[in-house]
Symmetry: C2
Subunit: 744 residues, 2 copies
């Protein structure tokens, strides 16, 4: 007995002897840890289950009765938990389908079903009258008949390949596989190449039977399930198409719909692989390159075929309300410093995984925080819990709210913490790299529910196990988790990319694969069987995001880290320069190959495969301004971080001064003119790719100009980025000065 | 008119101004080039067409009437062309099926069809009474019923994966995909793991509809087409199972069949993917890892399933004759120095591509050489054209003939040049690296029929075009063609691996993909539509192999190159050492991961996935003996090659002395005891892998011991290989001494 007791005591001491929390005094750190223990004790997985069951019980897309009811239900909850809660409503353009027709003409005619079935194993799948039919929001109206061409993922590289094969999509309808880019890129690039219609289908190789058993046996996509989704040109700007840059309030000035740049130019329709099969089977022309082939039991041809395809789409172009739930717990010490925590609540249909699995974790987090507050531990800074509406069509709710409150938010927001769905598995996170060391400390303190080790340790183990044997030695011992860079795809966009607010996006997953995404089968029944049975990881997300929120709201000195940011930024710069060097060698080599006729000699003369065109040699750009700004930042960041170690000993006044400088530093990464051809995106380090969509482009102004071989623009953007880094550096230096003793 | 004339004249001069042929005097080189021009002028694609049509008109497997008729037909041709021709017959064990039954039992029973259909588009496909049914030769007889397990390719790594997934094949029947190893490895490894039966099927991802349109629309494997083939354990020894090491003459001493090591221990049956589909669909258990999945429209599970499989096989274990056609043109100057050129003539069914496409090229080559001889240009060395029987079951004809004439061949053979099928596309070649520079000169002088550049240039272009953009710069300008190393899979094995005769294997391909391999659809109809229409590449193979044969037979100083061999050998040694270093790091890392419990923490707790076992640390072996022998060889080889540049100026007697040393050098790479556990394989540099089959293992004694973690054996083999290199080096030094002036 005694030995065990000592051992337990030792373990307790050992776990208490962890490092001090970043930004807290010793005492503050201990107090905060105690608070987190109380917070964890509040967690009740049953709540997540109850809420998900209620919120997903009917389709709750933008403009639906259930969407509104859900917003009100959550607002009531927040109020019960002690939050000052309001529903902010905006009025946005949200098209819904009036006509959907897709048919293969000719000798073997086929009319696409465009219909997902009711399943007895899935209780909500039969709510036909309430479901949005399968469609791509912000597709153009259209009635087109033409030959069909298979364009793989439909990204620019695929069209280069088509060109070499002598296949032109001008005047044709294209069919593209989902995946490989954000879906809106596919019709955009198709239209740029002259296509008059676009079909997007889910190939079974991506999330169907190739990956695992299909629903309801397993969670993967059935032959008849369709991925809905927006195709608005969000890499130009997200939010209501009619009110770029301003909140879509009732009386906001609106663009005429014909002047809107973000609505797709051609009709686009998503279909199932059951509907895609006859279309793909009808194609003639060359066999698709190996990398283009999917999992259907056919030889994939590129087309066109003998038979034409008829696509007819018409939409109701209605204005719909979006209801954002905004719940505030005003901070005791710094009411004007806000930590915002958000997840969206709207779905394409019932949306159990996307977005409710993240939403219910946020609710439980807010409830627990409310309980602590009721027990006397209110947050020192203001915490704002948001439940966004209209994320699915175009980040509508978050963008309009952010634009509507831009001035206040830029002034007050310390950080924005996002989630958007969650499942069983491993921590995944992207965000501002100033938050990286802080985040690493948080994930050391959250236990993985399946193994009992920290979620940081578990992710590290997974990474090593998954790595090929040859790469493991390099990874062994390196437990530090690099944050990904934020691209697009959820509600952090307006915060980080439009306003320069340090942001994070996080969630668990990797042991929750499935093919329910944006179909009627993203249901409570599927989620609780396959994605996170028992909501263990929902609770873990609440513990993780809750710690981030609470530590940011209670810290004495905000735990931002300029060193971590500098290192990442420097890596991006190195990457961009290396990319250009590679481009130079590749261009030289390819031009020599063309000169030596090697493309003509190496190809199969029975196939059309044109040599690429000779390209202009890649020049050397002047990177010195960027290098100098980075060198200065390195020095100041290192100097600052040395001082920051003692930040909590600063007098309160200086500490307040420091905190303002710390959280506003990210603001200086904004250039008011924004990125080339898309001024809404102002952050100079992180942006969604113009031709990748979700895919982030870091140092986007420089990187995309190089990719597009626009050397002048690349050089100009080196200047812009360097200026921004200099401004950032000035902020860091000012922060360092806070530490200097007053001179008499 | 005049300008064109001058231009033509210039081009002629330019092409005549090429480098001197290796091993010839200036005058000899010019004469040889003239001869090759005459040789080329003889080429007639129509002959290849006629012969292939005749030879493939009926099934001609071992023991068939048509096989014998084909041998006699070719013998007649050789005689007409002036060759001393005989048919050498050996008597070999060749099993054919008596009973073939495969059925899925249980609730959804299925009886495999095991039948390929007649097609109106393919004239020979209906010759049912003459066709060998689909089977694996040298399978065991057996009648087994058990659960089924899918084992991917059925190689040792797949069983490691199965073990980690907690799946045991003991007492079960396994189903494996073709590919990833020689087929005989699959039942061998299955039996080693306790399986009682093995089914091998052709997955559509490998050569069926995933790759292209199926026959008769395109050349790829139909759902009902089956790959026949041998599963004899040829990595132990090829040839007649009953007469290892000696010719299977009528009265040769034979083993009792029960004592034979190379006959498979369990019943094995190849099936189509149509027959495989219900079996695979019946499987339960875990979803197969991504890399294991094929192209069927199902979720691939590993099994077992609820329902058992019944496999019943019985064979006629008969002795059959194999008829080798041996056609000699005795050399004018060196009748006892032989160049052997061979291709097999037997097929599994009609065998148009495999082997006749290579056989008819050899025939045209022999015919043209015969015409030159009739016109007074007989070869200086003896040329022997061989048409082997029984290659498909076990290299029967070539092995028995080689074993029967071992002493003479070891004494006389300069080199063995093999082909085995041919098609449209690019030169491919493997062989003894002493022949590499010589071969590079040959392929500079053969024009590609589709583009008019040399086949060397075309291959170079293809390699560059196929390389990813990042790798191209490294390849640009490097036109030298590295020879592959000879593993197994055709008739060169007894020559190089058993007797140490420098060998080559070559053919064209890459623009002739298809799925006809070893099915009834490897027919004249398919070949002439898809593989090499017009036999342009058949003619090109005749020109290439013809040049090799003629130059070797006419050269003054045989064009062997010790430098090229040294460099390759040194690369292999470096590779083996690096492999061991990597193995050391990987073992260390994996052991640490096990110690830190990372496999347990990183895995999905809902799935069975055992941590690997802690492995013994990889020691450091003593490579000094190998390093020393290589260093010595480097010096002598360099010294020799400097002298060789003037070899043709040597007095005739010395030249003769030199030539003997040159072509016998490869003999010293033989160790009479052979490789561990397979003494028939005596070459210490090249061997087929014991667990890969076709896949070559260079420095096999060392490499395979390291792979098997048998450190003692690896160290012993470092010694054996070093001794062999020292013996080789002595040969090189003796060759160098030929150049030294006599001392008085």
């Amino acid at each position: 007995m005694r030995i065990i007791y000592i051992l337990l005591l030792f373990l307790c001491i050992h776990s208490n002897a962890q490092q001090k929390l970043l930004g807290f005094t010793d005492a503050g750190s201990e107090k905060q840890k105690g608070l987190e223990k109380q917070f964890d004790a509040q967690m009740n997985a049953g709540n997540l289950d109850t809420w998900m069951k209620f919120l997903s019980s009917h389709p709750h897309h933008v403009g639906s009765a259930k969407g509104r009811a859900n917003a009100e239900y959550m607002a009531d909850l927040f109020r019960q938990w002690g939050y000052q809660t309001e529903i902010n409503t905006y009025y946005v353009l949200f098209p819904t389908p009036k006509t959907r027709l897709l048919e293969l003409l000719g000798s073997k005619p086929y009319k696409a079903k465009l219909e997902e079935p009711s399943l007895s194993e899935d209780k909500t799948s039969g709510q036909k009258s309430e479901q949005l039919p399968s469609y791509n929001a912000y597709s153009a109206d259209g009635d087109v008949t033409s030959e069909l061409v298979f364009v793989n993922r439909g990204v620019p590289a695929d069209y280069e390949e088509l060109e070499r094969m002598g296949i032109d999509v001008k005047g044709k309808i294209v069919i593209a596989k989902y995946g490989g880019s954000w879906r809106g890129i596919k019709p955009k690039v198709a239209a740029e190449h002259g296509a008059i219609g676009c079909i997007i289908y889910s190939d079974p190789a991506d999330d169907g039977y190739v990956q695992g058993d299909t629903y309801p046996v397993g969670p993967f996509r059935r032959a008849d399930a369709v991925q809905r989704g927006s195709v608005m040109d969000m890499p130009v700007y997200p939010g209501d198409p009619l009110t770029p840059g301003v909140g879509a309030t009732k009386n906001a000035k609106r663009l005429d719909i014909k002047d809107v740049k973000t609505i797709m130019k051609i009709p686009v329709l998503p279909i199932s692989y059951e509907d895609a099969l006859p279309l793909l089977q009808s194609l003639g022309g060359p066999v698709a390159p190996a990398a283009w082939r999917g999992g259907l039991p056919i030889t994939y041809h590129i087309g066109p075929g003998k038979d034409k395809v008829h696509l007819k789409l018409a939409f109701n172009w209605d204005q719909k309300p979006v209801h954002d739930v905004i719940a505030k717990m005003v901070g005791t010490d710094f009411p004007d410093q806000w930590i915002i925590r958000g997840n969206h609540h709207d779905a394409w249909v019932n949306g159990a995984a996307d977005p409710l699995s993240g939403m219910v974790a946020e609710l439980e987090e807010a409830r627990a925080l409310g309980e602590l507050a009721k027990n006397g531990s209110k947050p020192r800074r203001t915490v704002v819990y948001c439940a966004w509406d209209g994320e699915e069509p175009a980040l509508l709710g978050s963008t309009e709210w952010a634009e509507d409150h831009e001035k206040e938010l830029k002034e007050k927001v310390v950080a924005y913490i996002n989630s958007d769905g969650n499942g069983r598995g491993f921590i995944g996170a992207s965000g501002s790299h100033t938050l990286e060391p802080f985040f690493n400390q948080v994930i050391e303190d959250v236990k993985d529910p399946q193994t009992g080790v920290s979620v940081k340790e578990r992710r590290y183990a997974k990474q090593l196990v998954d790595a090929d044997k040859a790469s493991r030695a390099k990874l062994l011992g390196n437990k530090y988790m690099k944050l990904g860079a934020l691209g697009a795809g959820s509600d952090y966009s307006p915060f980080i990319q439009h306003m320069g607010i340090a942001s994070m996006d996080l969630g668990y997953g990797g042991e929750d694969p499935g093919g329910e995404y944006h179909s009627i089968f993203d249901s409570y029944d599927l989620y609780t069987r396959f994605k996170d049975p028992g909501f263990q990881y929902g609770v873990t997300l609440a513990k993780t995001a809750g710690r981030i929120t609470m530590r940011l709201s209670n810290a004495d000195a905000l735990p931002f880290d300029f060193n971590a940011f500098y290192k990442t930024l420097n890596d991006y710069a190195t990457e961009v320069k290396a990319m250009m060097d590679n481009q130079r060698v590749e261009t030289e080599t390819q031009n020599k190959m063309i000169e030596e006729n090697l493309f003509a000699v190496g190809k199969d003369p029975k196939k059309t495969y044109a040599s690429p065109e000779v390209k202009q040699a890649v020049p050397f750009l002047n990177f010195s301004e960027l290098d100098n700004s980075l060198a200065q930042l390195k020095t100041s960041a290192e100097e600052f971080q040395k001082m920051y170690a003692n930040a909590t000993t600063l007098p309160v006044e200086k500490l307040n001064q420091l905190n303002l400088l710390l959280y506003k530093a990210e603001r200086s990464l904004i250039d008011t003119d924004g990125l080339p051809r898309r001024p809404w995106y102002k952050h100079q380090v992180y942006a969604p790719g113009f031709y990748t969509g979700y895919g982030v482009k870091t140092l986007p102004g420089i990187r995309e100009a190089i990719e597009q071989r626009n050397w002048k623009e690349a050089q100009d953007n080196i200047g812009i980025v360097s200026k921004v880094i200099e401004a950032y550096n000035a902020q860091v230096q000012q922060a360092a000065k806070v530490f200097s003793k007053p001179t008499f």
